[in-house]
């Protein structure tokens, strides 16, 4: 009798722990998804602003071409290529900003201002996303989670290497 009771108790504890781990993991996956959605939205907005800058008067044809192609690539990139495409866009914007801010007309100053605010947000969003990804990866390495397949069919989140110096 006593042994049965002990076995049941142990079993219950194990079950509770597994359910706890599963909830935890589910929450982390959710965090990865929302932080990515947030980052993705901000990056899309940046690409849109880059296009607007490319079409503005203060942009010479060569940098306009560079910027347009970089922005389109960033928008259309697949998940795997996203990071490098965004980095290219950061680079293109970075090249432009140094003399862009000197030559910009008043009407475009607000555009650059917006870009600056957006870059600050993107930097934070990247930090939040990478953090979510790394904690998820850490929890998924736990043997209990791997053994009982608590992650289910959710893909392992990928770390992106983003260039930080957008502006």
């Amino acid at each position: 009798m006593k042994t049965t009771l002990a076995v049941v108790l142990v079993l219950l504890t194990v079950l509770w722990y597994l359910s706890f781990l599963a909830t935890r993991l589910d929450r982390l996956h959710h965090r990865v998804e929302t932080s990515w959605a947030n980052l993705d939205g901000l990056l899309q907005r940046r690409a849109a602003i880059a296009l607007e800058i490319a079409r503005s008067q203060s942009c010479d044809p060569a940098s306009s071409l560079l910027l347009t192609s970089a922005a389109y690539q960033a928008r259309e990139a697949s998940v795997q290529e996203r990071s490098s495409a965004e980095m290219a866009l950061s680079g293109a914007l970075g090249l432009l900003i140094i003399d862009g801010q000197i030559h910009a007309h008043d009407s475009e100053q607000s555009l650059f201002q917006e870009l600056k605010l957006l870059s600050a947000k993107i930097r934070i969003a990247i930090a939040i996303h990478t953090d979510a990804v790394s904690s998820t990866q850490m929890v998924r390495r736990k043997s209990a989670i791997r053994f009982f397949r608590l992650a289910g069919t959710a893909p392992l989140p990928v770390t992106y290497e983003f260039e930080f110096d957008a502006l």
Partner: protein
């Protein structure tokens, strides 16, 4: 999105009645957010309800226990946990902002109990690594529920990355820069004066370093005076001073915020000889904003706040002769003083609430993306959901 009115719940882990950096920060943040039109409720432990502002909810009497090298007034236990859950359930919050969720107080309890958009701010720069290694596995599941983390300084961020393996965005503590910029220089505090503000009885505030440096300073600047402001009994300190130098000291006792601004604008040099235990150094930000020329010890928090010496002079911590050297040099060179204080005043603008609250708010926005309203996590457990459908639910 910025125009949307939010219901924000802020949890302060330390007793509201006792003065402290975190409490001040929470108070100013809450008041700033309210003036921006948001609904704010602060949950904090407090000894009695009488003096609490309307937006503070009392979580119970704090317990004084030694934690991390100082006496902390914190609160935990089953009754506190129930109060926290009650507050969360009744608050109907869009977002929770938890301060110091890594110490055993109500912020951690709230983090454990709630589900939804949560932001955590880490203030402390801890030294006791072994303790953190021991409690790390307990904290981890709670800390990882936070959608975004803020550290008040680079030192606090390093503590977080080293011990809990998570990153944070650095947003400094805020000050009302204008209040300090408007400080009026007072005749009685001017001249060759050195100012010090703080609970001078605590050794970590470092008044003893200044005392040890004074004989050397007095030799080179005979008319120097030291003005010490802050709560405490000056008798013991006075007795430890060389009788010949005693008349150079003036103890002002506790001063008001307005007097503080005037004080800092009046003194020739503001000295912060703290020997450690400081994670941000809000007092230095205030001194810079008031246009004081700052001399501070080179502990990590001060070093980073002063930009490695760009916005104020640094001396080797706990080294009185180095302090004396720096002070004498500055007392003699008014151009250098003016240069430092000018740069410092400009730099202090980044600590202004207008700037800091904007940054905090953009973190809120990010935490809110895709998040639902704050609920108790127990409500989301499948069996509770099943039970609650039958009616009775607390």
């Amino acid at each position: 999105m910025l125009t949307k009115k939010l219901r924000i719940g802020i949890v302060c882990p330390y007793g509201w009645d006792t003065p402290g950096g975190v409490q001040n920060h929470v108070r100013d943040l809450a008041e700033f957010l309210m003036s921006a039109g948001h609904d704010v409720s602060v949950l904090a432990p407090a000894i009695d309800d009488a003096h609490l502002p309307a937006y503070v909810v009392n979580a119970g009497k704090p317990i004084s226990i030694p934690y991390n090298g100082a006496v902390a007034r914190i609160l935990f236990g089953p009754i506190a946990f129930a109060r926290v859950r009650q507050w969360i359930a009744a608050g109907d919050f869009d977002i929770l902002h938890l301060h110091e969720p890594a110490i055993p107080s109500i912020s951690l309890l709230a983090c454990w109990a709630a589900e939804g958009a949560m932001v955590g701010t880490f203030h402390a720069a801890a030294k006791h690594q072994k303790v953190i290694y021991a409690i790390g596995p307990i904290l981890e599941p709670a800390i990882e529920k936070l959608s975004a983390r803020i550290a008040v300084s680079e030192a606090a961020r390093l503590t977080l990355t080293n011990h809990l393996e998570t990153d944070a965005v650095v947003i400094p503590n805020g000050i009302y820069a204008k209040r300090y910029a408007n400080g009026e220089p007072q005749e009685k505090w001017s001249g060759n004066t050195i100012g010090f503000i703080g609970r001078f009885e605590e050794p970590r505030k470092g008044l003893q370093v200044l005392l040890a440096a004074l004989p050397i300073i007095a030799r080179f600047a005979p008319d120097v005076r030291v003005l010490v402001a802050g709560p405490g009994d000056p008798k013991e300190v006075e007795e430890s001073i060389d009788p010949q130098l005693r008349h150079r000291f003036e103890f002002l006792g506790r001063i008001s915020e307005k007097e503080k601004a005037d004080f800092m604008s009046s003194v020739t040099l503001y000295v912060a000889p703290n020997t450690g235990g400081e994670s941000f150094g809000i007092i230095l930000a205030e001194a810079l904003a008031s246009g004081a020329c700052v001399v501070a010890s080179d502990i990590p928090a001060f070093d980073s706040l002063l930009g490695g010496g760009e916005f104020g002079a640094l001396f080797e911590s706990e080294n009185p002769s180095d302090l004396a050297k720096v002070v004498i040099e500055l007392l003699r060179d008014s151009d250098k003083r003016a240069g430092l204080s000018g740069k410092g005043r400009e730099h202090a603008q980044i600590f202004d609430w207008d700037v800091v609250a904007e940054q905090i708010f953009s973190i809120y926005e990010m935490a809110l993306v895709g998040a639902q309203e704050i609920t108790l996590s127990s409500e989301n457990r499948p069996w509770n959901r099943l039970l609650s459908r039958d009616g009775d639910k607390k």
